[in-house]
Symmetry: C2
Subunit: 527 residues, 2 copies
């Protein structure tokens, strides 16, 4: 392990975070986010944090001044994991220094965010989860506008980081490699390093471009610039932080909701495919089996939720005082919005899906594990892994009575010859199952029943609520059911649970390995 | 696929079932099970069923009269799966013909069991699950004694079948093979076929011997012969059918409970190890890592449940009117009993664990997936798979930063060199996760909320209750939480759900593959 190299890159990360914080400073001026006065405390907290970031960056860069140029596998993994830890800590500072207020139970009196809350909120931002401990965020006395802007900026930075990381590190796994190698254009003469930089740059450009387009669209549809930028950040990073207490539903605008649905779907689409579409090859998008499955899951689930919500239950109140057509439109929009919000792992809310029937609620919990496409900003397990999972299971069952027949898994018509692929996919599902089960059990153990009592939630729902909280943080979504339903948040949990969630969000966002290896002693021994 | 061979063996199975039914006939006589009069209806139903079994056997044997001697892999799988289907259907007949009464909701008026109920009860017996739709079983007007005896006999037959199948088919998988090959004694000159028969015979003898010893022990501890035999069958097969409404708790006897705990633990122990112990090599038992983990899980979980039940919650009412020591003894016995009952997948009840704290309830649900040791009558996923699962996950995470290092998984100190093992273990966990998730979702969809309302259970628990019902049937346990809690049963569910459970019980008992292949069209095409 070459710690000098790790150190130098951590220094760069610190500077990048400090630079991004600087962009939140203008939001402290009166009127920018609708506030009446200059936000002294928020501005001060940001300036102090920027100075700390610069200083930390200088120290890390100094420690790593003699680092070699070559990046080995172990160093790459360490940098990914450690830079996320560093970002979380640095990003938590402004909340702590500004003494942002939140309400931890039903009492009206707010308290200042503690260290666990700040780390949770920071990680939730960078991991593009969008889970929050904050309520009453429209009240600038509780949450300064400039910190609300910083909160959304962490989404932007996290989304950008994931897109670049996919190219550099995560996309090197079997599934990602198969996709990248097969479809990414570029002069084949280029070395893999130059080509990687080239690809990362294109992806970053697409990401920034879509953020820009969405910001303008949301502004035109009635948001102010502050809201438009924050919601564009939340959408394109599949994060989910809003600037309103009622999340996106607070705008009460069909145009905004349909626009956000479209851009959430785009954010969950493989950036390689978007690039190919921009190059005038949209056929690649329709030919891609991951994207087709992704769209199939979205519209299939919406249809199921609509069917159960209309015929079995009466979730959408069809037949009320609105005209019938309008009712069906609302039902369709609400179902589609929630499905897209959960599948892409954005987690915005427009309807309280926790009031829907049990089938729909269970389906939405299952959908939490689906996630976006590989090479998108979407979290979760990724659609491609589910496709391969099902194909592998089917093949292996056939294998049990035809042991001699060797058949390659095919994806979009192409055979995948990587012999390690089945094991890697099954391994990922195994790890997620184990982490999910153990974390839920630990959460139920460390979180007292009184949390439910104090929040006015039935204690009998503790098992489901806890499972949904773990699923939601591990898959970087945000809301869940019951105590963390779409009208609730994570404030009620005790500090140890919040730290558990913080860990789970990081674990999920970095697709497990880059975090798990940090916990293994032999990883740190010099090679 | 040689269907003649399949047919011939199905004929033998039919005869075996008819023969076993004959042993239930004496239980119809007055006084045997405490009944006042001769049970005409039950006796008639059994006699008719026996005749049908004989006839079906003759037809199958006739169809398969020209079958070859050699058994290929595909035929073996088909026979395992189909014989279980046949046994379920034949075993359901007596319930149907005797018009056994059950109560499907809170109403007091009983109705005769329908086809779905009979198949459910029969499968539950053969798969040694012990889930039931029957209540008020102490009332002979509802359930004739001779059918109660038949019900317990299906456990005996199912347990015997699994023990023999393990040797013949299931034990041929990687994990089973590793255990069998390494430790099973016997002259190496014998061919694999003779050796297999020899082993199967020894295992069957141990199984019958333990049934006999337990019967005598229970008789001495206060049961009558009828109860003693039925409960021995239920214990040694890790089934769980009782003859009392309150299950084993109805005897209110410490001696009986501790005896059953011991024999449940034995029933969940690898029969190879028991044989070695009988041969005077008990050290093998203590050296075996699966058995040590099995005991560790049992006592570790008991300690956790005791700790939470005493210090966090007040589940055992310690400090009530009994002397303190007595309280702790009861708390220990109840915890240990329920842990053993669920880990070994027996499912007997002495305490209503559904009233315990949420941590203990969640832990018990997780324990449902553990199961007994390989080569025991215990169901579930088996301890060995969990050990290998954790070892494989750990190795693969290390592999991610040390791709060049190849390290074999070790079990009880011996390296396992089978290259397919990691994939097979991960595959099994993947299949269980997928089947569990999909079945739960389907169950929530097909079972109306009114089932909960009619049973006086909160509808808000539908998700957890449904998940526990699927976990309980798939792992062949019996009870779960909420609507199928230890004081409830499966009667309230609609027929489609009961058929789903019937399928899940078979799937779990035959360790998935022998059932799944039957659903694949290419399996049936001739080679």
């Amino acid at each position: 392990m070459n710690l000098q190299l790790v150190s130098r890159l951590l220094g760069t990360i610190s500077w990048l975070i400090g630079l991004t914080m600087a962009f939140s400073l203008p939001a402290a001026w009166p009127g920018v986010g609708g506030q009446a006065t200059f936000e002294v405390r928020g501005f001060g907290a940001l300036v102090t944090s920027i100075v700390v970031c610069l200083f930390v960056g200088i120290v890390f860069r100094y420690l790593g001044r003699n680092a070699p140029e070559t990046l080995f596998r172990k160093e790459a993994m360490a940098i990914v994991g450690l830079s996320w830890v560093l970002a979380t800590i640095l990003g938590a500072m402004p909340y702590y220094l500004a003494e942002v207020k939140f309400r931890s139970d039903n009492a009206d009196k707010p308290v200042a965010m503690g260290i666990a809350e700040c780390l949770f909120e920071s990680q939730s931002g960078f991991s593009t989860t969008g889970a929050t401990v904050l309520s009453n965020i429209e009240n600038e006395a509780w949450v300064p506008r400039c910190l609300l802007f910083w909160r959304s900026s962490t989404h932007f930075l996290g989304g950008l980081g994931i897109i670049v990381l996919f190219v550099a590190v995560l996309g090197q796994g079997s599934a990602g490699k198969a996709l990248m190698r097969a479809e990414m254009p570029g002069p084949s003469k280029e070395g893999s390093h130059e080509r990687m930089q080239h690809t990362a740059l294109i992806f970053a450009a697409i990401y920034c471009g879509l953020n820009l387009i969405l910001t303008v669209a949301l502004k035109l549809e009635g948001m102010n610039w502050f809201e438009a930028i924050c919601h564009a950040f939340g959408t394109m990073a599949t994060g989910g932080f809003s600037t309103l207490d009622k999340s996106l539903g607070g705008f009460n605008s069909k145009a905004i909701e349909y626009t956000v649905i479209l851009f959430m779907i785009l954010a969950g689409t493989n950036f390689t495919l978007m690039y190919l579409t921009l190059l005038g090859k949209p056929a690649q998008l329709l030919k891609d089996s991951e994207w087709r499955s992704y769209m199939g899951i979205i519209f299939g689930s919406t249809a199921l939720i609509l069917a159960f919500g209309i015929w079995v239950s009466n979730d959408f109140n069809v037949g009320g005082h609105l005209a019938k057509g309008e009712h069906y439109e609302t039902a369709f929009r609400d179902s589609l919005f929630q499905v897209v919000a959960l599948v892409t792992t954005t987690g915005f809310g427009t309807a309280d899906f926790d009031l829907w029937n049990n089938f729909s609620r269970a389906l939405l919990i299952v959908l939490m594990f689906v996630g976006g496409c590989a090479g998108s900003t979407g979290g979760g397990m990724k659609v491609i892994r589910h496709i391969l999972f099902v194909k592998i299971l089917r093949r292996e069952v056939e294998h049990s009575f035809h042991p001699s027949v060797v058949r390659h898994i095919r994806l979009s018509g192409e055979p995948i010859v990587d012999p390690d692929l089945p094991r890697n996919i099954l391994l990922y599902f195994g790890l997620v199952s184990l982490i999910f089960t153990m974390s839920t059990q630990v959460l139920i153990g460390i979180e007292p029943d009184s949390t439910w009592v104090d929040s006015g939630q039935p204690v009998s729902n503790k098992l489901v609520d806890s499972a949904s909280a773990v699923a939601s943080t591990l898959n970087n979504i945000g809301p869940g059911v019951g105590i963390i339903g779409s009208t609730q948040n994570y404030a009620a949990f005790t500090a140890p649970s919040k730290l558990l969630f913080t860990f789970l969000m990081m674990l999920g966002r970095l697709e497990l390995f880059a975090v798990l290896v940090l916990l293994i002693p032999s990883f740190w021994r010099t090679r």
